[in-house]
């Protein structure tokens, strides 16, 4: 069966399914209960599952993540919501120094199946700290899985897989896509595993790759390129750590060219990692250097400048042109 849902509604449905399937699953975060979250992703869940399953927490991110770790030790599967990307840092210590390392430090005697949901990214015209893309910090941290859906269908399935994962999962939700509709196939057989890179548009000339909201921009760029006579193959990374290189290598061996795009700043980023690895593993297939398209290496600017800061289809196409010019 297929339903047409916004990404926010798809996440809501996925969380509902996770709560139904396992009564050790808990949701916790600021304003997620009665209000249903500032993006309404958890709307109605406290009403339907009760205050013991959907917890409005005190205002403290270290408190949310740190207590989720203890709950996991007690056999719960907490799903934490961080209200906005830029507000994750008070919880950073608990995520990177504790959550990420706990299983390793226990030599595997305990698992820490904690999910941390983070609405992230720009294009919503908001004030400071509400539009950032901090995923690289977490991809850089051993012990965390980092994933990000680009569609409603993936949001519905990936959140459920994240909850079932026995590792901690950082779940980055592209908030500019929250209100976009997409078909969600509710048949479990249609779910792609969360660690997979997916080809979302076939092409022959240049491979373009991204994650989250950037995938829509890449598809837009591919349309424009097609009208101008070049064929882009579009890949949706989905998992930022670990990265599934197989489909990227297959694509690059075919096209010989790769452009990696992201909203996050480029310096020491997920895109940098992909570029380095492809240069290492597919050197003889490449016709051009792997190019990166990203946010600038500056703080996220005031909202009136965000369209200049964030890469758009034109910036992707500029890199595509440069790649083709080699």
């Amino acid at each position: 069966m297929t339903e047409n849902l916004t990404m926010a509604k798809a996440l809501n449905a996925g969380l509902r399914a996770a709560l139904e399937q396992d009564d050790r699953v808990l949701l916790m975060g600021e304003d997620i209960g009665r209000l249903g979250g500032v993006f309404r992703v958890t709307e109605g869940l406290q009403r339907d599952f009760g205050e013991h399953r959907v917890l409005d927490t005190p205002l403290a991110e270290a408190g949310i993540v740190g207590s989720a770790i203890g709950l996991a030790m007690r056999g719960y599967r907490p799903v934490c919501e961080i209200q906005f990307d830029g507000f994750i840092y008070p919880g950073f210590d608990q995520i990177t120094s504790s959550l990420a390392k706990m299983t390793y430090r226990h030599d595997g005697s305990q698992a820490f199946p904690v999910v941390i949901r983070v609405p992230y990214g720009g294009h919503i015209g908001a004030v400071e700290h509400h539009q950032e893309s901090p995923e690289a910090y977490f991809a850089h941290t051993a012990g965390l899985r980092v994933i990000s859906p680009a569609t409603s269908h993936d949001a519905y399935w990936m959140i459920q897989e994240a909850v079932r994962s026995n590792d901690p999962v950082m779940f980055f939700e592209p908030k500019s896509r929250y209100w976009q509709r997409g078909d969600v196939d509710l048949d479990a057989a249609s779910a792609e595993p969360m660690h997979r890179t997916l080809r979302v548009r076939a092409g022959t000339d240049v491979t373009v790759l991204g994650h989250g909201a950037m995938v829509a921009t890449l598809l837009q760029a591919a349309e424009v390129a097609a009208s101008e006579g070049s064929s882009l193959e579009v890949l949706d990374l989905r998992s930022l750590s670990p990265i599934d290189y197989g489909p990227i290598l297959d694509s690059v061996r075919k096209t010989g060219r790769l452009v990696v795009a992201q909203e996050a700043p480029g310096n020491v980023s997920v895109g940098s990692e992909v570029a380095a690895t492809i240069a290492e593993r597919a050197f003889y297939s490449l016709e051009a250097p792997v190019l990166r398209v990203s946010g600038f290496d500056t703080p996220f600017p005031p909202a009136r400048l965000e369209d200049l800061y964030l890469p758009d289809a034109d910036r992707v196409l500029e890199a595509v042109d440069r790649s083709l010019a080699y």
Partner: protein, 396 residues
Amino acid sequence: MPLSTALPPAETGTAEPVRLLSPEGQLVHSALSEEYLPVIEALPDERLEDFHRQMVLMRRWDIEAGNLQRQGQLALWIPSHGQEAAQVGSAFAAKPQDHVFPAYREHVVGKIRGLDPVRIMAILRGIDHGGWDPRETGNFHIYVLVIGAQSLHATGYAMGIGLDGASGTGDPDRDEAVLVYFGDGATSQGDVNEAMIFAASYQTPQVFFLQNNHWAISVPVERQSRTPLYLRAAGFGIPTTQIDGNDVLASYAVTQSALDAARSGAGPRFIEALTYRMGAHTSSDDPTKYRENEELAYWGARDPITRMEAFLRGRGASESYFRALAVEAEEFAADIRTRTLALQPPPRERLFRHAYTDAHPLVDEQRAWLERYEAGYGDAAAPDTGAAPAEDGAGA
């Protein structure tokens, strides 16, 4: 006992916070008010009118900004309706040499310190992140949206005052102190608690000013604390007072006394102002989803402006004062509107400007790249021009 997710009955107050002005606008004579009333009685009429005047102007500003937001001229508005007394009284208590660290709702405090209101409008119009020099705005520092973070900055600043020997000299006109604002939700953050620990440890010259407006977005204060919040400070060893935050006179007199103590070298002080956020958290919020009308009515009857107006009228304030103020408020709002609409989007250069203080090769390269790109990327970014555009990772 099962996990308690239930909230205790609302009981955030002491039996009696410090209150100098009753909701009906009468001076309150009580054991608690005794200490502070002489301060009020010594104030000239113009000063008392100014308390009222700033509250009225703030409320008018709130209405204008709310309209501008609905008309698509602001990305966001953060109302302070209901909290004017807590803010205005405490702001007037600070001396010119004091430093003020706001959160993000203290617009009128900034105004009283000398900040142009349009600077705040620029933040909410998506034009700036602050961008003012506190030395030019009455030592009113820039807003901080990360809940509680400013409390530690304030403590560090106060530590600096202590290290400089700029407090406790015995000269009250020279001694400096710090006044820091935060909300009830913020009291749950580690930063706020750590700020109190550092402040107590180093006996910093500062006043923690908590506006307990009873809500952190949709979360009631009972979720943050089962003890009246002013008692938290006592646990850190900081002398603490709870006040009626809708009483501008209490806010003024108690903050003045606390700042005097801090300036004189007696260490930090804590004030909890019991008040109420009458409006939405911000223009993005819908409070009907989570709170009851009865509560709103209760606090509506304790409006800070109504009671100060009754007090002034009781003292014989002239009708012409109120008439002139009404005119001034309209002019003030019109001026904010005009100048907000005239605000220009920031220049492209603002992306890169001041990301660092010293020259930075990566930022310089990206700035140059964007210049060429905007000029028309056809030739600008060709990889073989030798100009090394994004070729080595300029990240655009």
